[in-house]
């Protein structure tokens, strides 16, 4: 298959050169499987095999692109796509900068993140996994929901400037398991991310769900008072916060356009807690990494925040072209974010609860529907969901109704950070809008942040 894809890219390159069209080719192939559960049944079982080809044509400073969903057997259709892009670019308007067309100096093939056993999971295996994680936890009122999403991804690229190509193949799985009460409307959650089959351990999810379920089934929920709380965020909540920080913080293009919460003068300055070190680390296979970007720049460890100090912006090639900056190897579908762990000993929720407490702690595992209230100041808002707990100083535990947090990322990850756990969790942040793009963030399993405000507290679910 790899040889066939590379040959097609070579054929397309030759065709474009023959037509006098300067072009780049981006190939994306996904084999996607999704088993969805709701109300303790399989509510959807689907698979899609899709090949997307994006052709970008250049004529001096002019640029235009044409994308199609196609098949490997439709070379003529792909060539027509080149003709269309070539025709479009004639009518495009010149940019006021020179767009870079990559020159690959060698062919780069990476299949290190591909596990054939994970990519070829059967329907029966997916169902068995869910049956194991849910074992004995469902009742007439407590229903199982969630997804088992798995598949494989091939990203390949070529261009008319060089004979070489890029080919990256990965496998991935994302599991979300939810137990919800049909009448009372609460839910608890457990999640798992995998790049290889051996990462899949349904027993771990069963333990997490069983523990939360015991609390939610037996304890009466309460509306907690508004005010300031010491909060421990779980990996899904932290993963969302880090993803938002990545969205509005690190892009050089966003900085130049006035959309970034980090400013040029903050490079080299301490802006977050000294416990906070965030890397773009393509060596970690759990992040479904690209070890080379689409411009042919080899990627290695890129520190974003080191002990709270902002190390610098990342540059997508087109932004670097427009603003005269040096590209940083970030013309990729996603970064490989790794928030380095701390030294707090709790690795599981059980262990967190068993730790002595100097104050009440609000545990928020998941933040729902996060959005940007003030991007320039890094202010986000979201609601708790899926198994929050108020861990009282006296050792008791209260099940709270959901609450809203509206805070600046600088507050959340600033000097109020009390500790981060030594244990790490891979939080799968994949979105399946459009083409498959498996993404995850490696995080401390728990992060405690003191003195954060709860601005809204529900009186029911």
């Amino acid at each position: 298959m790899k040889e066939k894809i590379l040959q097609i890219l070579a054929d397309l390159r030759a065709y474009a050169i023959g037509k006098g069209i300067e072009a780049t080719f981006f190939y994306h192939e996904e084999d996607s499987y999704l088993m969805r559960f709701a109300n303790s049944a399989i509510s959807l079982n689907t698979n899609e095999h899709l090949i997307r080809l994006e052709i970008t044509a250049y004529e001096g400073r002019k640029r235009a692109s044409y994308a199609l969903i196609t098949d490997l057997g439709k070379l003529e259709e792909m060539k027509q796509g080149i003709d269309i892009a070539g025709e479009m670019v004639k009518h495009a308007q010149p940019l006021n900068y020179d767009p870079t067309i990559p020159v690959y100096t060698e062919t780069f093939v990476d299949e290190g993140g591909f596990d054939p056993a994970l990519a070829s999971l059967s329907n029966e295996e997916r169902l068995a996994y869910f049956n194991r994680l849910a074992g004995n936890l469902e009742t007439n009122d407590v229903k199982l929901g969630g997804i088992f999403s798995s598949g494989s991804n091939i990203v390949a690229a070529a261009n008319t400037r060089s004979e070489h190509s890029i080919y990256i193949k990965t496998s991935d799985a994302q599991v979300t398991a939810v137990l919800s009460h049909a009448k009372l409307k609460w839910e608890v959650i457990a999640e798992q991310s995998a790049w290889q089959k051996s990462d899949l351990t349904p027993e771990a999810l069963h333990d997490d769900l069983a523990f939360l379920l015991e609390r939610y089934q037996n304890d009466a929920p309460q509306q907690i008072p508004l005010g300031r709380y010491d909060i421990v965020f779980g990996p899904a909540a932290t993963g969302d916060l880090i993803s938002f920080m990545n969205w509005i913080g690190f892009s050089g293009g966003a900085l130049k356009r006035g959309f970034s919460c980090l400013k040029e003068e903050q490079v080299g300055q301490k802006v977050f807690s000294d416990k906070f070190t965030l890397l773009d680390e393509p060596a970690r296979l759990e992040t479904f990494p690209s070890k080379i970007d689409l411009m042919g720049i080899k990627r290695s460890t890129f520190p974003l925040i080191e002990n709270g100090v902002f190390k610098g912006f990342t540059w997508y090639q087109d932004d670097a072209d427009e603003f005269g900056a040096q590209p940083t190897g970030h013309t990729v579908m996603h970064k490989s974010l790794w928030l380095k762990p701390g030294d707090f000993p709790a690795a599981t929720l059980r262990e967190l609860i068993e730790q002595p407490r100097d104050n009440d702690i609000l545990y928020i595992p998941y933040l729902h529907y996060m959005n940007l209230v003030n991007p320039s100041k890094g202010v986000v808002t979201a609601s708790s969901r899926f198994g929050a707990l108020l861990l009282k100083k006296d050792g008791s535990i209260v099940v709270p109704y959901n609450v809203r947090v509206t805070q600046s990322l600088f507050d959340i990850f600033g000097d109020k950070v009390a500790w981060m756990s030594k244990a790490e969790t891979v939080n799968n942040t994949s979105s399946s809008y459009g083409a498959r793009n498996p993404t995850s963030v490696i995080l401390p399993t728990f992060i405690r942040v003191n003195d954060l405000e709860i601005s809204h507290s529900n009186s029911s679910y």
């Binding site: 959807l44 689907t46 698979n47 044409y66 670019v89 006021n96 929901g145």
Partner: protein, 484 residues
Amino acid sequence: MLKDLKQQIERLRAAGATYVDARWYPYEESNALTMWNGNLKDASSSRESGVGIRVLYKGAWGFSASSDVSNPTGLFDKAFDNARISAERVTFPIRLAEKDALQATFNSPTKIDPFVVSLSDKISFLKEMDEKLNQPGVLQRVGELIFMRKQIVFVDSEGSEIEKNIVEVFPGIMVMGVDEQGVSHQRSFSPGRIADTRGWETIDRGIFLENAERIVREMKEVLVADECPKEDRSVILLPGIMFLQTHETIGHALELDRILGYELAYAGGSFVTLDDFGKLRYGSPKLTARADATLTNTPGSFGYDDDGVPAQDNLLIDKGILVGAITGRQMVEEANARAKKQIFKGSSGANRATAFYRVPIERMTNINIDPGEDGTLDDIVKSTERGIILDGTKSWSIGSNREQFHFATDIGWLVEDGKIQQVVKNSTYKGDTLKFYNSLSAVGDKSTWQVEYVNNCGKGQPNQIMQLGHGVPVCRFDNVRIGE
């Protein structure tokens, strides 16, 4: 192709499938142009085609899709196999509400197909807007044109055969500036749907030029404005934010699959229960909301849904009382069975998929608020003692059961004693859904009613982006927390 599909449907029926349908997209095309500070950053087109197959077997769904239609037998078999494994975990065997078998065609009303308009003409429009927006104080200026065109052929095992030809046009402009504190502020404009068509002819240069001037002026006013106060006030929502309020806290809350728990693991549920229909006071008597897929000029109108059910105009909230939901064939049967009574008489025709490779789910059509009898915007302002007028969709975040919300808007105008006093920046408001709608104290008349569109509504797993509309008037709500 159609003959092949019908043969395969018959084959699976003979093999034991209860129901089979196929959605064949001979083509779906898009064209997107983005001009950013004078640079044509995006000039792109795309085309795709393929088939999605849905099979119901022993009360469970299986789905399969591919752009490769050379082996229809394999594709149908995959969908059937997926249904077989689903049938191993069934708690409520799926039944489909009755419908008529239809042979029909729907064409969205279009005078000028945007795909026959030259690229040069489209770029010329964007350049004209860019020049208009290029004013002192404007740091970023963006013009965008998105066009879609698709043909969908639907056939099912109940004898339906429906062809849809749909064209959509989504234009918009935006400006952004930065205030003295380094905080960015933006204003944008996307035209409401005025005429009866949906093609290139809906892009009115005059309206765009007029609004380009307005959004630059308003953005500059925001840059030097005071902060929005943190207090309780009446909020007067213009259609530019009322449509999103409606979308998030009426539309999504009344999707029947959410109410029944089918989205609990991801998008969330709904505070609404089956017991609430016909009884729950959702809002004040001034609130009447409907799902109207018969409006001619919006993307929430599509002739027939992806169950093959015709477009309808259904009441959701009647003078404040909850009476209806957004439904497809599967969910109404399950809801009636669970409630042990007939809440829903049949599908409301709202089951849609975003592409051939996605499965249909309950989606909003045009979720509208009926105009009221409280006059014009001026009339509503005059009758407001202490309020704030809000417009623009800066940020929105909703509780997982749609029970509470937080919105930030692009601009606010404080109102004191019936008069507009000053612009404020960083305006926000929040509330609990039922309390908020029950505080609805004024609904503007037809002069304030505007059809806004949404071209990026996300739902489902795998995620699906859907296009739809909202016809909404100016509305006023009392005692709302702002500025937090």
